[in-house]
Amino acid sequence: MGGKKTRITNHIRRIRLARTDLTQAELARCVGATRQTIISIEGQKYAPSLELAFRIAHTLGEPIEEVFTFDPSGLEI
């Protein structure tokens, strides 16, 4: 029941641990989400909305392209 597999992967956990002192709960509070959502996003189980993605990137102090990666393989142009 998880829905379609997303092509978007993220590096939130790596950046959060390497470049900030934020816990998952603190990051969740900063971006207006629940800790469970942050856990799910970091676990690559949930793709956040565009706004939430920008909030996370802004809170981590990184450009959004550094935090989130799109896998275009298999995409027909």
Binding site: M1, G2, G3, G32, Q36, T37, S40, K45
Partner: protein
């Protein structure tokens, strides 16, 4: 499976509501089966059972909603975020789809039961699983539809939280 302390409030509420609905529905079915069938239950017996089940369901749902509302008041931040809303919406969609299909099946049966008997060469009527001209059968079918729809909604939510 997610630990209870790691669950969001919406996820916990879905679990509690699901468990309560299953218990009440099983109690309802058990009372019907104890009597034998829906036909052997007297009109007053069925009325008492229906009123009891409905009141129990309303009270339990109200208590669950109140408890979770009181818990939210103690929190500083908004507990429901976009993921909770998305999963709630998915559960509501599946619950609605089930109810829509079930209602159409009931309507189809009523039309067939009434329509076939009126055909010029009809020798015998359509005998489905329920006789919807019988109020007891209709009430039983609609009650089952309501309970199963709610169980499906909360089940979908619980499964969606596991997958997302």
């Amino acid at each position: 499976m997610t630990l209870i302390e790691d669950m969001s409030e919406t996820q916990r509420q879905a679990w509690v509501t699901l468990i309560v609905d299953v218990f009440v529905f099983v109690y309802f079915l058990k009372n019907i089966m104890t009597a034998g069938s829906i036909d052997t239950l007297s009109a007053s017996g069925l009325s008492k059972l229906m009123i009891g089940v409905i009141i129990t369901t309303i009270i339990l749902h109200a208590v669950i909603a109140s408890v979770f509302a009181m818990r939210k008041q103690g929190e500083d931040e908004d507990i429901k975020d976009e993921r909770d809303i998305r999963i709630e919406r998915k559960g509501a969609t599946f619950g609605f789809y089930f109810l829509a299909v079930f209602m159409n099946i009931i309507i189809g049966h009523i039309v067939i039961q009434n329509g076939l008997d009126n055909l010029p060469n009809a020798t015998e009527g359509y005998a489905g699983p329920f006789d919807y001209t019988n109020t007891s059968h209709l009430v039983f079918a609609l009650t089952c539809a309501a309970f199963i729809g709610d169980i499906i909604k909360n089940s979908v939510m619980v499964l969606a939280y596991r997958g997302e």
